[in-house]
């Protein structure tokens, strides 16, 4: 039995092949990589080069082509679609990157240029992005840790987590929960239909914070004292605020949007849940 398993493994690994290619990256170049299935990891270094390492089936060909300022990485095979491919790509620190996948887990770390990641299935992880981050995913979790630029995420199913982000944040999803942790942003716009929303971070005087869900709960966890004009709207949900914020709302009729001012009222906060709980908690 053990011998049989060993033989199968040997046959499988025998079909695998590694491509390892490094090409020059002109200033301002952008990487475009698409992987039908498998994994993609993108990291950075201080060289003006792009290194592509790929583990793939022997029938798959990895094509790395430079078209002006675009370096395009893709796979094909003589007949049919490429199989699972695991990419490990290293790019110049300031390079803009676009990664697409169908059934692909994607991780991108420390990319300083603008970043666009799209996947149908698979988890997406982005760490310490320096530029604008655009993420489009149908299934799978999305995690963004760090980042100074604008973050825009569009999901369908799967949870979204954002931590230590400093730029503007916009998230729209249908089924997933959205959790923001240790966020310092002056413009946050989160929308989900069925998920919960948790925001834990700062509220800046000039900031706008809009958190809305249909079925889920909305929880805003911020430090006191707070200077904000807060608008709360629900149809069949509830609202509660920590005593530190000095907010007492009398029970209202269904669907009533109510507003109140805390401190100077400088920031603008809108919390909406059609039928979930809305909570304003002290950090």
């Amino acid at each position: 039995m053990l011998a049989a398993v060993t033989l199968i493994l040997a046959a499988t690994t025998g079909l695998q092949q590694r491509t390892d290619t490094t090409i020059a990256a002109p200033p301002g170049a952008r990487l475009e990589l698409h992987n039908l299935s498998g994994t993609v990891h993108v990291g950075t270094w201080d060289r003006a080069q792009v290194r592509v390492r790929a583990d793939h089936g022997s029938r798959d060909r990895i094509r790395i082509e430079a078209h002006g300022a675009v370096i395009r990485v893709q796979a094909d095979r003589l007949r049919g679609e490429p199989g699972d491919i695991d990419y490990d790509v290293t790019v110049p620190r300031t390079m803009a990157v676009e990664v697409g996948g169908t059934d692909t887990d994607i991780t991108v770390e420390s990319v300083g240029g603008d970043l666009r990641v799209e996947s149908v299935e698979g988890d997406i992880t982005i760490r310490n992005a320096g530029g604008t981050v655009l993420v489009n995913s149908a299934e799978g979790g999305i995690q963004v840790d760090g980042g100074r630029g604008t973050i825009r995420i569009s999901g369908i199913e799967g949870d979204v987590g954002i931590s230590r982000a400093r730029g503007e944040i916009a998230v729209e999803t249908v089924e997933g929960d959205v959790t923001l942790d240790d966020v310092e942003s002056d413009n946050v716009d989160i929308s989900t239909v069925e998920g919960d929303i948790i925001y834990r971070g700062t509220v800046q005087d000039s900031g706008n914070y809009h958190l809305t869900t249909h079925e889920g709960d909305v929880t805003l966890i911020v430090a006191a004292p707070l200077d904000a004009t807060v608008s709360v709207a629900t149809f069949d949900g509830s609202f509660e605020a920590a005593p530190a914020f000095g907010v007492t709302l009398s029970p209202g009729r269904h669907g009533t949007r109510r507003s109140f001012v805390i401190g100077s009222g400088a920031a603008r906060i809108e919390l909406e849940s059609f039928e979930g709980a809305i909570r304003l908690q002290r950090r």
Binding site: E139, E157, H210, H254, R268, F274
Partner: protein
């Protein structure tokens, strides 16, 4: 990745004029030789133009202050809504604001499929604006229904090209949104003048169109 697949996922941005110049030029070159992408683009533009009809219908004046005064809600001047999200169907975002502005009038039109017409006291309080508001809300509904119908036709036609798991996710998510729309409409039937419920319904409808449009882009790319 085949050349067509590389560009089909960008057709939506192309239709909205959101592609950078260099990519736009490259996509135009690709379109010249790809009939399938041209057809997909035509379908996307058709949907966009249907919703675009909303732009031509605006209320004669801003109705919000009058409504806000009656329900005790803050004026937008005090609490501005500063949404920064870039809608893929901005015309429907405009519809959402429009429906808030027309208040009960929009509600009558929105709930007409599922409830008998509410009396709409707020309409009576805004006689000068009501005549123009009715066709505006009607246009919003017509555009929404047409957009959903067209996108649904695209999805039905091409759903076989999608992975079954992806189809399941899309169908479940659409069902989730449909339930939310139904709940919002039922709520509006009980309180037709509520601006939050109007805005919530319009926003949820926009989310459905956005999701369907994304699904159409997925089938185009598959």
């Amino acid at each position: 990745m085949p050349e067509r697949d590389m560009w089909t996922v960008r057709l939506s941005e192309f239709a909205d004029g959101e592609l950078p110049d260099d990519e736009r030029v490259r996509l135009e070159a690709h379109l010249a030789g790809c009939a399938q992408c041209r057809q997909t683009l035509d379908e996307l533009i058709s949907v966009r133009d249907l919703a675009g009809a909303l732009r031509e219908r605006q209320p004669d004046r801003d109705l919000w202050p009058g409504i806000a005064a009656r329900i005790g809600a803050p004026s937008p001047a005090v609490l501005p809504l500063r949404r920064r999200w870039s809608f893929t169907l901005p015309q429907l975002a405009a519809a959402a604001l429009l429906l808030v502005a027309v208040g009960a009038t929009g509600t009558v039109m929105l709930t007409s499929h599922e409830a008998s017409g509410p009396t709409g006291a707020t309409i009576a309080a805004q006689p000068a604006a009501a005549p123009s508001a009715v066709p505006a809300a009607f246009a919003a509904n017509v555009a929404y229904d047409d957009a959903v119908r067209q996108l649904n036709a695209i999805l039905v036609q091409h759903r076989g090209s999608l992975d079954s798991a992806t189809v399941r996710v899309l169908e479940e998510s659409l069902a989730t949104i449909d339930r939310a729309i139904a709940r919002a409409r039922a709520a509006l039937a009980t309180d037709p003048t509520d601006p939050y419920l109007n805005a919530h319904l319009a926003e949820t409808m926009r989310q459905k169109v956005t999701l369907m449009r994304r699904a159409a882009a997925l089938v185009a790319a598959s």
